[in-house]
Amino acid sequence: MIAVEQAMLIASMATLGVCLAVSLVFLFTRKPFVKSVTLGNPHPVSARVFTTRGYLWVALLGLALLFVTILIVSRAIVSGHGPFSNMYEFSVAFSWGIILMSLIFMWRYRIALLGVAGVVLALGLLAFASTLSSSVIPLVPALQQSVLLSVHVASAIVAYGALAVGFAAAAIYLAIRRRNVSWVPRPETLDNIGYRAVTVGFPFLTLTINLGAVWANVAWGSPWSWDPKETASLVTWLVFAAYLHARVLRGWRGARSATLLTIGFLAVLFTFFGNYIFAGLHSYR
């Protein structure tokens, strides 16, 4: 099983690397993954569909997702619990969430660039994971509450994955807004996707924090103790709450809301890697 796990880590990184290389080659040779077609009669509407090479690329990304899934499952069989005991497991799970969410958003909005951004982020996380010790460490007593903990972490992964996609859309928006680049989607579309990604991720972020409170009350005797990781996740939540209110109530669009979204994702990364920065109850490595 440990051999399977090692093989899957290498396989998923290799697949993501191929995905990235292929997308770069097609980018420079101007071979699109998505093309516009017109549908409808007598008043045609244009629709975007994947080209054959686009479909193949999506399939390759799907294969990477499969490898990471096998990696997580085989590890769960060995360790007997979900991916929540150290940074190696979190990083692998986080990259799984990012690949899943970027696949979903890429499929839904037919924007290949979102998938490419997801590949970059996921590859970065897996590379980080590969530098960490992957040995199965036994659980300290507070972590021996698998159901609550699995749901808490699973919900965090979905939230972080969706927010990563939102960040990708915002970052692309900020990079291209002053330029006229033919092969990237319209800025308004990116702005809209950023918002949609946050609306998917935010409820899960809320759920994560609330489940964390339920579990903290069981394990540490208090639903909230201003532990640095707790506080960092609250800060993240507040930044996205600010983003949503700014957008919905104050009509923020474009560069301002994209900047806020980027800050929000930096807060996600800060919370995620916070174990290295601050001590506290979540101080596993």
Binding site: H43, I137, P138, T189, S222, P223, P228, F278
Partner: protein, 475 residues
Amino acid sequence: MRAAERRRGAGEPIFRRLWRLLGSPRLALILILVLVVLGLIGVLLIQVPSGIASDPVSYKVWIANVARPRFGAWTDILSLFRLLDVFHSPWFLAAGGLLMVNIVVCIANRRKTIALVLSGGTVRQGAEFFGKGADRLELFVAGPTSKTVSLVSELLRKQRYRVRSEESEESEESVSLAADRNRFSTLFTLVAHLGLLILVLGFVVGSFWGFRDNSFVLAEGSLRDVGHNTNLSLELKSFEDDYWPDGSPKDYRSQVVLYSGQQEVKQALVRVNYPLVFQGISFYQSGFGPAPRIRVTDGQTQIYDQPIPLLDVVQGQDYLYRYAGEFRLADSGTAVQVVGSALSGQDSLIGEDQVAILVQESGTSQYATGLLDKGAPLEVGGLQFTFVGQQQYSVFQVSHRPGIELIWIACALFVVGVAVVFYFPHRQLWVLVEPDKTGVSRVAIRATGRSSPGSDELSALRLQIEEDGTHNQRR
């Protein structure tokens, strides 16, 4: 428009102006960002532990031992502005409190909007309405308007829209439709914000009427009053700990008995994640350590016989870390320090079955030391000390949190509210169907709603209308 707002503000009575300020989204944004900044400070600067902040003496000790080595000259400024206890600082409480007021005012202000959303508003919109906005489309469908109207309504109903229609006063041929979906989602914005208010209320109730004791230490075989006007006392019968092969703790558990007055009320095995709860008061397992049992005799009379929890860690001149504890003899006031074997590594001074003691008579600076072997009495400073045996102590967190039920109700409202708002977004469509050239009707559609999914949905709708239109024609 801003200038107009300001002018309007100038003539308003002060109360109305204040109300508008308190309910403004801009204030909400500013307050959230203030909380973000304070939260970051709380994460990045080490914060004073909750038990220490309320006690001036231990606060001073904490500042000297923990804060000053880190922050140096900045310590006093940080402490003055309460940034080392930022979550109990006036800034945090003011920003959080004001945000709650802001939410209440916003909820109060939203009554009319919500009523409008639930009723669906006016059905008929003017021609210029359909010419504005980003989310709109215009199309032409073969067939009379009546047929087109039923086609469009049916399509929308299939997509879970509520459809209301109204004919124009001038001509029966021109029909307006108003369609909306997930209108109850608007109520869940209230549910989520209400959840947030109740959540904060729950925490406030808990911090005012509850108590929390983070280090309730009990050595094996001893009994201690819980205090805080509870009339409860807890006895630790025995303590056990297991370890993983790598030395990290696997499980630790305390067999305890709880008394109310003299009456035994509960026996329990307390473990991490499995607290003992009695009448809203919870006992959580939080830590443990060694507690060597020391017996002291003065001539023939036994004057002390108790396990001493070694709560401190001291570093010796040989750089080894050892657990240490202290007790005082009631009659003479003599203080006795007890030091155990090293935490890790070979200890050449104090062996596994030994403890070192340092005996200091009250009011003097003279002291005597001795190394006690297990079971062997030794005379130190005129008294006879015996290391009876190694026992353990267990640390509990004792907390009483009235309002915890409120917190759970609030969490549920909050999570459900947020989920419904974003996963079932409210959406409104207005449609105007009027006759165009002979046999053709013109359909104008405009969508509004917070999370308009761009032109995707409208394009799909257009395709469907056209498809169904041609289908009907063929039939």
